[in-house]
């Protein structure tokens, strides 16, 4: 498969950041990109991988500067070539795709026009209609639905995944000799990212584009690369074939990287929660819905109804960890606001300890509120910068009232110790706290009220693996001590795999499957759960193959939800009834619940509807 022709020869490449003092960002990087192959570059944030990918296309801006070495491409040294000659190569022979597709094009012009503009400016004698034709062909090649219409649409009308396809068209339309793909799947949801990755793989094969694929996720790189370079602190620590790297990593850093990769099907994790099957119900959610209305500016007196949460029901039992997973737009953040009673649902009940909090008044709620707390993702904006840490943590106690200030201080200090904050932070302002410490302050603030239920909405998402693991352990300890119940709301499958007893999978405002941890990962019933599992970037062998379960397409808009099963447009095995009858969440043979006609006898779901 590999020819001996090399496309790009990088040797001893160094990049410095120039300022009052020089600092080296990349140190003497050397590698070769063979023709028609994909070279993966893996590195964590701060490893210099984005700088490297920009340096390869000579696109560094001051204060960054190439300070040594060479990048040979077709006999030209890109490291020293002048701007005019580089301009000739960029866009024509050398292409680059970044991680921010949403801001990559002029927001005020249709995407088709802009790609044609690029094509015409690199191929000078191309007529406009010929350029348009080629753009359309390429839009079809990346499977953008109704390409003719989308040609004339504007960047903001595209989802992240579709926009990334547009940028792939833009990069490959000139059939470049080499392509740098810099973290292109990073901002996307797993199923969408997996689609993009699959597409890029196909296109790379068809166009024979030599590709440098940069990513921080080993699982993603493993999916596409032939060879791989491991970058750490600006240096190449290891370089070898993809399979060799996974099987026989030679460098310590690579070994750690591989061992830190969360495993999904590997060893059976130990959910931190104590198994207390179906004991006491702490929270009972019944048929909860929430719709937002928004004016349709293209029609008179018309409001669009965005159905964010559509009839969700589940129970949470004392002492368990319930996971709620789903991709962006599935309604999980709205659901978390409803459960935390930041907002009231339009319909349905939320019973907490036997009382319906769905429509409870403010005053009544205040008393109950100390028993259930919502913790959000963002550890930075939630902490007031002008209050001492002790005061911030004490805030909920003051709001609740009825505690003497001596007692408040005692409880705050005790809670700080419990969540692993040094007590001497009590009188300090929050400046200079690390992300992990800030998240701990947030946790302490919630814990100080001694809640019985904690809702964690992407609370751990912004943290790195190590910090995340520490907090998971902390939550486990607190649970053992206090018998607390957790709801983890997250998009991260490996996280819920590690900590949750039961998991609910959401799609388009609904719970489509609810089952035990083991069943969700080893015996999922709903096609969407399988698609989700097939898309996880993993270095283990997959139990569900994307070829079987991952269809093209994106979720329908929550404004116009089609009749029948809302997953139908992406379902690999739809049957006739799916087009007309919306499946209800019903019991599966394996003791879980799923909303799919394949699982529940049709007669039953018709009766239910």
């Amino acid at each position: 498969m590999q020819t001996n022709r090399s496309v790009l020869n990088v040797s001893q490449l160094s990049v410095d950041i120039e300022g009052r003092e020089r600092r080296r960002i990349l140190n003497e990087i050397s590698f070769t990109l063979e023709a028609d192959t994909v070279l993966g570059i893996i590195g964590q944030s701060g490893s210099g991988k984005t700088v490297l990918s920009r340096a390869l296309v000579n696109w560094l801006r001051p204060p960054l500067r190439i300070s040594g070495g060479s990048i040979l491409f077709k006999g030209v040294d890109l490291a020293t070539v002048n701007e005019t000659a580089m301009q000739q190569l960029r866009g024509r022979e050398i292409a680059y795709i970044g991680s921010d597709p949403a801001n990559a094009l002029d927001p005020t012009l249709p995407i088709g026009r802009q790609i044609a503009e690029k094509l015409m400016s690199v191929e000078n004698d191309l007529a406009r209609d010929a350029a348009d034709r080629r753009v359309l062909q390429m839009l079809d090649a990346v499977r953008i639905p109704s390409s003719r219409q989308r040609f004339h649409e504007f960047p903001f009308q595209f989802s992240g995944g579709m926009m990334q396809r547009v940028m792939i068209v833009d990069a490959l339309i000139t059939n470049p000799a080499f392509l740098v793909a810099d973290n292109i799947t990073q901002p996307l949801d797993v199923t969408i990212a997996a689609q993009i990755l699959r597409l890029l793989k196909e296109l790379q094969r068809d166009f024979r584009t030599s590709t440098v694929f940069v990513s921080s996720a080993l699982g993603v790189v493993a999916e596409i690369a032939d060879r791989v370079i491991v970058l750490a602190h600006g240096e190449v620590v290891e370089q070898q074939g993809m399979h060799g790297l996974l099987d026989r990593p030679t460098h310590e850093y690579t070994r750690r990287l591989i061992s830190e990769m969360p495993k999904i099907w590997g060893e059976e994790p130990l959910p931190t929660a104590v198994e207390t099957p179906a004991s006491e119900t702490v929270l009972s959610v019944r048929d909860v819905s929430k719709t937002y209305s928004e004016r349709d500016r293209n029609r008179f007196f018309v409001w669009n109804h965005i159905q964010a949460v559509r009839g969700v029901s589940f129970d949470v039992f004392r002492g368990e960890n319930l996971g709620i997973i789903g991709e962006s737009g599935c309604g999980k953040s709205t659901l978390s606001r409803l459960l935390g009673r930041v907002e009231a649902p339009d319909t349905g009940q939320i019973e907490f300890l036997g009382k319906d909090i769905a429509h409870m008044g403010r005053r009544q709620l205040l008393g109950l509120r100390k028993k259930f707390q919502l913790l959000l993702q963002d550890p930075f904006n939630a902490i007031p910068p002008h209050l001492t840490i002790g005061r911030t943590i004490a805030e909920p106690l003051y709001i609740q009232g009825g505690t003497s200030s001596v007692e408040v201080e005692k409880r705050v200090r005790a809670t700080m110790i419990e969540v692993g904050l040094q007590e001497d932070l009590y009188d300090l302002l929050p400046v200079g706290l690390s992300a992990g410490q800030r998240q701990r302050v947030n946790i302490a603030r919630a814990m100080v009220l001694d809640p019985e239920l904690l809702i964690l909405d992407e609370t751990l998402s912004a943290l790195d693996q190590v910090e995340q693991a520490k907090l998971i352990e902390l939550f486990g300890d607190i649970q053992k001590r206090r018998g607390i119940t957790y709801i983890y709301i997250s998009h991260d499958l490996s996280l819920v795999r590690r900590v949750c007893n039961r998991i609910a999978v959401m799609y388009l405002g609904r719970v489509v499957e609810l089952a035990s941890n083991t069943d969700i990962f080893f015996n999922p019933q709903h096609p969407y759960t399988r698609a989700l599992l097939s898309a996880v970037p993993a270095i283990e062998e997959r139990r569900y193959l994307p070829e079987t379960y991952l269809m093209e397409g994106e979720p329908p808009s929550p404004i116009n939800i089609p009749a029948g099963c809302s997953f139908r447009s992406r379902c690999p095995l739809p049957i006739e009834i799916c087009a007309s009858v919306d499946p209800k969440l019903s019991a599966t043979p394996s003791d879980g619940y799923a909303a799919c006609h394949l699982i529940t006898p049709i007669a039953q779901s018709t009766i239910n509807s």
Partner: protein
């Protein structure tokens, strides 16, 4: 469909705004001291005659009644008659006796405005042209070389310009270019060349705002991610600026133009026309204010707010056409 919906909504909004402005001016005129009848009839007239004329003109009715009557009249397309000016165009005043004041032979406000407005339009158009000619190159260069010497130069120029009061500037220009230099005519109107000097004064007043805003919007647009991505996509920087940066920068500029520049222009027009004795709507307005000529003041206030509202609608319509995101 969007445009229609948009226009309808904005026009209704606009009418409400114009109505409110008119009501405000209408009330203020009648609340602040200064009885127009006294000026109409002169100081020598007996109080009883004054009262009689005032009642005849409806000036003694409660303000809401007067306003209602006025609005009904306006809706029929009648802006009323001047209190002071007679139909022949001359201004009557207090020196005349009450007997010669002819209630029936007063000038129609609509005609007075129609006679003066072409001059004002000429002046305003010329002023905008000069403003663009001065501020566009300076602002554009400053924006593209943001932080470098052209940027600083344009900042100095606009700081100097902004500190010149228009009255003073007008007088200096009249002295320099007209009285001493003899290059341009200055006072009154006797052909389009008379509009050049006042337009220049207006342009110098408007230019600094425009220069700064052009510089800032161009510089901000250049910072956008798509501009640097454009380079790596293979689009030359020059083309990026002419085809994309300018387009994007025009949106904040249009807004500024619609609100601030037109507002400033309307305000300064009155003053500058007065300084140059230029026979436009502004001069008419200033004289009307001195003479408590309510119908003229009201009509011109209404007209000004209508201009402001219309320009704003047009500007927003243009902006939503340039950037479709504004339609959502």
């Amino acid at each position: 469909m969007f445009a229609l919906n948009f226009l309808l909504r904005r026009i209704v909004q606009g009418i409400v705004i114009i109505g409110l402005v008119t009501l405000l001016i209408f009330t203020l005129l009648r609340v602040v001291p200064g009885d127009p009848v006294r000026i109409m009839l002169g100081p020598m007239v007996a109080p009883s005659v004054m009262e009689q004329v005032a009642t005849e003109l409806g000036l003694r009715d409660p303000i809401p009644v007067q306003f209602g009557r006025y609005m009904l009249q306006v809706m029929k397309g009648d802006l009323g008659h001047s209190f002071i000016r007679n139909a022949q165009g001359g201004s009557t005043g207090g020196s005349r006796g009450g007997e010669t004041f002819d209630l029936q032979n007063r000038a129609k406000v609509s005609e007075l405005i129609a006679n003066t407005i072409p001059y004002s339009i000429l002046l305003a158009a010329l002023a905008i042209l000069f403003t663009v000619l001065i501020s566009f190159p300076l602002g554009f260069v400053a924006g593209v070389y943001s932080g470098k010497w052209p940027d600083r130069l344009s900042l100095y120029v606009s700081s100097v310009l902004v500190s010149l009061p228009n009255v003073w500037l007008g007088i200096v220009l009249i002295l320099l270019l007209s009285a001493w230099g003899g290059i341009l005519p200055a006072i009154g109107y006797n052909g389009p060349s008379y509009a050049i000097l006042p337009a220049l004064v207006l342009a110098i007043e408007l230019a600094p705002v425009m220069i700064r805003s052009i510089a800032v919007s161009v510089a901000n647009s250049l910072q956008e991610n798509y501009v640097s991505v454009g380079e790596v996509r293979g689009i030359k920087r020059r083309r990026m600026i002419t085809h994309h940066v300018l387009r994007n920068a025009s949106i904040p500029l249009l807004n500024l133009f619609g609100i601030q520049v037109i507002g400033m222009l309307l305000g300064s027009l009155f003053v500058v026309e007065y300084i140059f004795n230029y026979p436009g709507v502004g001069l008419l307005m200033i004289n009307a204010v001195f003479q408590r000529d309510f119908p003229i003041i009201q009509a011109i206030a209404m007209l000004s707010s209508a201009v402001l509202v219309c320009v704003n609608i047009l500007v927003d319509l243009a902006a939503t056409n340039i950037d479709r995101r504004l339609q959502y």
